[in-house]
Amino acid sequence: MKELIMALALMIVFTISVIFQSEYHIHQEQRLFLKSVSEEAAASAAQYFDWEKYGDGYLVFNEQQARLALEETLRSSLRLNSDLSPSSSSYWKGIDKVTYDVVFIGSSEYEQIKTNQNSVYQYNHEKGTTDLMIFGPSVIVKVYTGPAKYTLLDMNGNENYEIAMYTFEE
């Protein structure tokens, strides 16, 4: 009788571990995909700048068009609806709306950073401050997608976000 109870307890532990392993793998794949999506979002946002001023040597970003491009990249790759809420085929269903934060560092802002702080830009968000080395005018995007899907074990506080930067190197 004792062996039977031990065996049942071991079966429960094995089942939980196998299910957790597959959920963790899926979470890791989605994080990898999110990293490439956020880098692509930064790259497509960096495409929209004033062409005439670029010919004179100044990079001034067109923020409105850049945001449109960024949102469309996120919407199609992460399978969101038009107001950035996750659709039924998206993985990131733990959040009402995927939010993003974008920082445009044009030529004039880059000159300021270079003189003040030795090419290190401090990006502030609620989880702490990230220091990014900046080598030229850049676009920094942070995408926040919320918690991942775990069924058996309660993984509280596993918020997923990615910070990506696209730089025009000088």
Binding site: A7, E29, L32, F33, S36, T73
Partner: protein, 139 residues
């Protein structure tokens, strides 16, 4: 002796968890590698403005060698094969689309022992997205 006989019957049940762990790892490797392959080739397609036949052939070749999926089973649902151009204002139709699927065949271990047939034990895993094009319109 009695416990050996009972042990060999229980062994069949306990070996399921080890086999399922191994299948999870191999499916994870396939999915991860597919995401890497498709994303790298999508970045190459951004430079040209579309998925050229060379990029497409190289992507299918890499999937064939690294993931051991025969060419007939790589399902390319959507790939932009006409050039898309970069413009000053954002245009949603000028983005390069891709959706590539591969089948993952063994989901559950010991499927015939549990009464699951082969067609239910596989599914198509997609990698889908849109990237922006960097190609300028030639004047």
């Amino acid at each position: 002796m009695k416990s050996y006989i009972a042990g060999s019957a229980v062994f069949l049940i306990l070996i399921f968890f080890v086999l399922q762990w191994v299948l999870n790892e191999s499916a994870h490797y396939k999915r991860n590698t597919l995401i890497n392959i498709v994303e790298v080739h999508a970045q190459q397609a951004r430079i040209n403005g579309y998925f050229t036949p060379e990029i497409k052939a190289q992507m299918v070749e890499e999937i064939k060698t690294k993931l051991k999926v025969p060419e007939s089973e790589v399902r390319i649902v959507t790939l932009t094969e006409t050039p898309k151009y970069r413009s000053e204002a954002f245009n949603e139709n000028e983005m390069i689309q891709y959706r590539v699927e591969i089948p993952i065949h063994k989901i559950v271990a010991m499927a015939s022992f549990l009464g699951i047939d082969e067609s239910s034990n596989s599914y198509w895993y997609p990698v889908q997205g849109k990237v922006s094009s960097e190609r300028l319109i030639e004047r």
